[in-house]
């Protein structure tokens, strides 16, 4: 943060703005976290950590700017810190199976989840922010702090990889599943 600021004692006004503005974004944060981690418990842990951080940093959010984007940026930082921390690595789908999201063909569902898990996490982030959360390429570039060219190449590679993985898992395939 290069913005100079005074130490802030969080006040009542701050708290009520936080409490009134946040709920609208929860479903979206939870969906993104679920897709990112592949596990509902880990996902809600990630959301909770994000919320706590957002709460403490709320005075840094510029009123009127895109709150959802700001929250995704925080979630990205929390996520990156988690996967960097030894011993706290997010477990893979194979280590910790979770029931697929309801209302979806279970076979389709598992395949998509497994395919997502096979993507490098930074490709997965780009794909999910754009496709699942509908963020603009500009916003993704800004919130992940990466150049537009990198956004595009990650998106392209994620799609290519996902396409191949899903093709392998398609019912018509005669291959046995190799994990």
């Amino acid at each position: 943060m290069n913005v100079s600021r005074q130490p802030v004692i969080v006040g009542v006004k701050h708290m009520s703005a936080y409490e009134s503005l946040l709920p609208a974004h929860l479903p979206s944060l939870r969906r993104y976290a679920r897709a990112l981690t592949g596990n509902s418990t880990l996902a809600d842990d990630l959301v909770q950590d994000t919320l706590e951080r957002a709460y403490v940093k709320f005075h840094l959010w510029q009123h009127g700017s895109d709150l959802r984007k700001w929250l995704f940026a925080i979630m990205h930082n929390v996520f990156i810190n988690q996967i960097k921390k030894p011993g706290l690595t997010l477990v893979s789908m194979d280590d910790m199976p979770d029931s697929p999201v309801h209302d979806v063909d279970p076979i389709l569902g598992v395949d998509m989840d497994r395919a997502l898990r096979a993507l490098p996490h930074d490709h997965r982030e780009v794909l999910l922010l754009i496709v699942l959360e509908g963020l603009s390429y500009d916003d993704v570039s800004e919130l992940l702090g990466i150049p537009m060219g990198t956004v595009m190449s990650r998106l392209s590679r994620a799609r290519e990889r996902l396409g191949k993985l899903m093709a392998v898992d398609a019912p018509a395939s005669t291959c046995t599943q190799g994990g």
């Binding site: 946040l22 709920p23 959301v47 940026a73 990205h76 999201v101 496709v131 595009m152």
Partner: protein, 247 residues
């Protein structure tokens, strides 16, 4: 229109283009069945991805995620306020500040380390700050995480350099700064698994040295100097801000 750059096809699939451009691209795709197949594949992929997680948004939100101020932070906040009040009273009465938490103990350690090394005239640091990139790489390696060395030149404090110190069985980093009058300031950085982020600065006075400390992102830090409260707090806040990652 001969060929379309790939990014435009992605932008088309992701709904990032205006209506006019969409029309042009759709017309172009009519004449290019190969590309059209690929684009359809991506569209299918998008649809499956969205369908896969569509249910999440209608799930009831678990109670622990309701965005009231997180409970433990409320307590922490109350504790911070009480402590600040206490610090004010204590200083007013010329009493020593009692440390209660492990973080306060860290600040005490920072003050101790400041007292020991800040008086060194010839060997204040292990690695000079003239090569700050090397210093940052070395300390990051020892800490096991990326350290951004905050520069305080605009406040008159030039980076002298840094050293590694032992702290609870791990490596801690001490950075030293000096102003033109020879006043020294140190920043101690430790890594530890802290249950609570403490982003408000707190003060501990020990060995005649004042330290402002905080904890964030698994790093606990303290800025120490024999300076009065207000300028030190300003410097500590600046160091904190400049060490932070964006976001």
């Amino acid at each position: 229109m001969s060929a379309l750059p790939e990014y435009e096809l992605h932008a088309y699939v992701d709904g990032q283009l205006d209506a006019a451009r969409v029309q042009e691209i759709e017309a172009w795709l009519m004449d290019h069945p190969e590309v059209r197949r690929q684009v359809h594949g991506w569209q299918n992929q998008n649809a499956r991805l969205r369908a896969q997680f569509a249910g999440v948004v209608s799930e009831p939100v678990p109670d622990r995620l309701h965005p009231r101020a997180p409970m433990r932070l409320r307590y922490a906040q109350a504790a911070v306020m009480a402590l600040l009040l206490g610090v004010g009273v204590a200083l007013g009465w010329g009493l020593h500040v009692k440390q209660v938490s492990g973080l306060a103990a860290l600040a005490g350690y920072a003050a101790e380390a400041h007292r020991v090394y800040a008086v060194e005239s010839r060997h204040p640091v292990e690695v000079a700050g003239s090569d700050s990139a090397h210093l940052a790489t070395w300390l990051s390696k020892r800490l096991g995480r990326t350290l951004r060395i905050p520069l305080l030149n605009d406040k008159g404090f030039r980076l002298v350099g840094g050293r590694v110190l032992p702290h609870q069985g791990r490596a801690a980093a001490q950075l030293m700064y000096q102003d033109p009058a020879g006043q020294r300031l140190t920043l101690l950085v430790t890594t530890q698994d802290l249950p609570v982020h403490q982003e408000q600065l707190k003060l501990v006075v020990r060995y005649g040295v004042s330290s402002y400390y905080w904890a964030d992102d698994g790093m606990a830090c303290a800025v120490s100097a024999a300076l009065s409260e207000t300028p030190l707090r300003e410097l500590a806040q600046l160091a904190y801000d400049r060490m932070e990652e964006p976001g």
